[in-house]
């Protein structure tokens, strides 16, 4: 009995006992071929995307080499391209957004996973999902007309008066700038942190909580010292996901960052991000080198998000499986 190799028809490939011809007649082979073509086109189009980015930036990569990332002259007239201000702006805004979004997001995820009754938690999660569905141009619209005036008239003067001795909070308040972009980005990535962290926290086995509580810890101690460390990897994954989104975000940032290619220690100062410069200049690129430099920036963005998304997925899957492996029923 053990020698039989035919399998039950299942979600896998079927090596049925029928001949190839009969399967062909019934359309199975044709269906398989056609669906395979569709599936393969996904791989092809992805490879083509990577190829286009690599090929399309060849000129800029050869001309500037590593200096592309070290110099800060971006001059289409003299064909000199250095991306440092854009990289600086992208990293600073992304970091600022995480600084705000991570505590808020994890706090909310803890509330939703540990405290809220299931129905309330599901309802709130529904609102969070809707928030994640709001398009970035809408965030940009609110950023331009609501956040920018608020920053210029209230938050920046307050920060300047209280923390003005720090280099980050000096200079004129334009409203637009790195800090504003960071805040808008934070609002945009919070839903991602909450959704993923909540899932990961919910996958922590119940025994972990009960063991901590039975040893006399308070509810918060059980959560913070046992449940959260257990889910640490997955929460880190959610932060990477949020970081990848913040780095690649275009519209909202373009609308509030000020679009000025300078590097300034002050967070009030206008800046520029990689995605924003591509959005503003790609259709107006005059020389081939200018165009290729913009593509190289696209390549940088692609690689950054590729690495972060990959790491995030690994961390989240590993943490959920750890929960499941410990008999989380």
């Amino acid at each position: 009995v053990a020698t039989t190799t035919t399998t039950v028809p299942s979600a896998g490939p079927v090596a049925g006992s029928r001949s190839f011809l009969s399967r062909l007649r019934e359309g199975d082979e044709i269906a398989r071929m056609i669906t395979f073509l569709f599936a393969a086109s996904v791989v092809l189009v992805t490879l083509l995307l990577v190829f286009e980015l690599w090929q399309g930036s060849a000129l800029a990569r050869h001309k500037f080499g590593f200096n592309f990332f070290r110099t800060s002259t971006w001059d289409p007239i003299f064909d000199q391209f250095g991306a440092l201000p854009f990289i600086y702006g992208t990293l600073v805004t992304a970091m600022l957004s995480l600084l705000i979004a991570v505590p808020l997001g994890i706090g909310a995820a803890i509330f939703l996973a540990e405290l809220a009754p299931a129905r309330l938690s599901d309802t709130l999660e529904f609102f969070i999902d809707l928030l994640a569905a709001v398009p970035s141009v809408i965030y940009g619209l609110l950023g331009v007309f609501i956040v920018v005036p608020l920053m210029r008239d209230y938050l920046q003067p307050v920060l300047k008066n209280s923390l003005g001795f720090l280099p980050f909070f000096q200079g004129p308040s334009y409203g637009v700038g790195l800090l504003t972009a960071g805040i808008v980005l934070a609002i945009m990535v919070i839903p991602y942190i909450i959704s993923v962290s909540r899932e990961v926290l919910l996958s922590v086995p119940r025994d972990q909580r009960e063991a901590a509580l039975s040893l006399g810890s308070t509810r918060w101690e059980a959560t913070w010292k046992v449940v959260v460390p257990f889910a640490r990897g997955g929460i880190l994954g959610s932060i990477f996901l949020a970081l990848a989104r913040a780095l690649g975000e275009t519209m909202a940032v373009t609308m509030v960052i000020g679009n000025t290619a300078i590097i300034s220690a002050s967070l009030f100062s206008p800046g520029y991000s990689i995605a924003a410069v591509i959005a503003n200049e790609l259709t107006e690129a005059t020389s081939n080198l200018h165009y290729q430099s913009l593509i190289e920036l696209g390549l940088v963005l692609f690689l950054l998000t590729f690495i972060l998304n990959g790491l995030a997925r690994l961390l989240i899957v590993a943490t959920s499986q750890r929960g499941a492996g410990m008999g989380n029923a």
């Binding site: 398989r32 808020l104 609002i187 101690e221 696209g298």
Partner: protein, 283 residues
């Protein structure tokens, strides 16, 4: 109660309250967004908004009829391009593929899903716009469709896999071919989930702006045909919001309200379809 214990209880209560505050702050953002859009957009929305072309610069009035139709055209193209690839690809993944090919396809889809939308725009620009030397609805539809593929593919696959194996076995035991089983048993059983997946993918790309900037570009008039620059609601919001004219700002708010309303309604409908349950009981 010792003071140490009292302190610990205080910390516990305080921190747990703070997590509630975090939730309140995060969720209230949604209501702020809705409130502002209804407040600013509601007063600017009018019949003209839906029926008139944009007014020339300096004149007040006018509407965004061309952008509404343009968005419709772009989304139609995107759906025609993205959904078949995602849907049939998912059938291959769930029903036919071996483990190696499935891994490669899933990996590619996840990779594509993570690509920033501006990079998708660059790709569509260099692949479709540059060779034809023409911004077009086709290029915009291609870019948006590309973004629909991974979302449709991965969720459809999930829903196909959640159909119990007993159903597959029963159909095949009755002598149905594999293709017959898929087309008349498995897909109908998972259709609510698949519909949800497609709707969510649609809602996701409906608000995308960055990939349209260098593909569909924009147009202040009706676009003639599919190979002409085409206006779209998200791109209009962007252009109007950063312009210096008050009347344009009002129009941008109105367009924002229409766009967000559309997206939220699709999201809510999609979830409602799903929550009414997949048609077959899970085994």
């Amino acid at each position: 109660m010792s003071s140490r214990l009292r302190w610990r209880k205080f910390v516990s209560g305080f921190m747990l309250t703070m997590t509630g505050v975090c939730t309140l702050v995060s969720v209230s953002v949604l209501f702020f967004i809705l409130g502002y859009l209804v407040y600013h957009g509601g007063t600017s929305i009018s019949w003209n908004f839906f029926t008139k072309l944009p007014a020339p610069v300096g004149e007040t009035g006018g509407g965004m009829a061309n952008a509404i139709v343009g968005s419709g055209k772009l989304l139609l193209l995107a759906t025609l391009f993205g959904v078949p690839i995602g849907f049939f690809g998912a059938i291959y993944l769930a029903e036919f593929s071996g483990s190696t090919s499935a891994f490669i396809i899933r990996y590619a889809a996840d990779l594509l899903n993570g690509v920033p939308s501006i990079v998708i725009g660059i790709f569509a620009y260099s692949l479709v716009v540059l060779p034809f030397k023409q911004y077009s609805a086709l290029a915009g539809g291609f870019a948006l469709g590309l973004m629909m593929i991974p979302i449709t593919l991965r969720s459809t696959e999930e829903f196909l896999r959640s159909v119990p194996n007993a159903l597959r076995e029963a159909a095949m035991a009755l002598g149905a071919s594999k293709w017959k089983t898929i087309s008349s048993v498995i897909v109908p059983a998972a259709y609510r989930g698949i519909l949800t997946a497609i709707l969510l993918a649609f809602a996701r790309v409906a608000g995308e702006t960055a990939p349209l900037l260098f593909t569909a570009f924009g147009n202040r008039f009706w676009s003639r045909g599919w190979t002409q620059p085409t206006a779209s609601l998200p791109a209009m919001i962007y252009t109007y919001a950063i312009a210096p004219y008050d009347d344009w700002h009002r129009q941008a708010w109105a367009a924002g309200l229409v766009l967000l309303g559309l997206i939220l309604v699709i999201n809510i409908v999609a979830r409602a379809i799903l929550s009414r349950g997949i048609a077959v009981p899970r085994s």
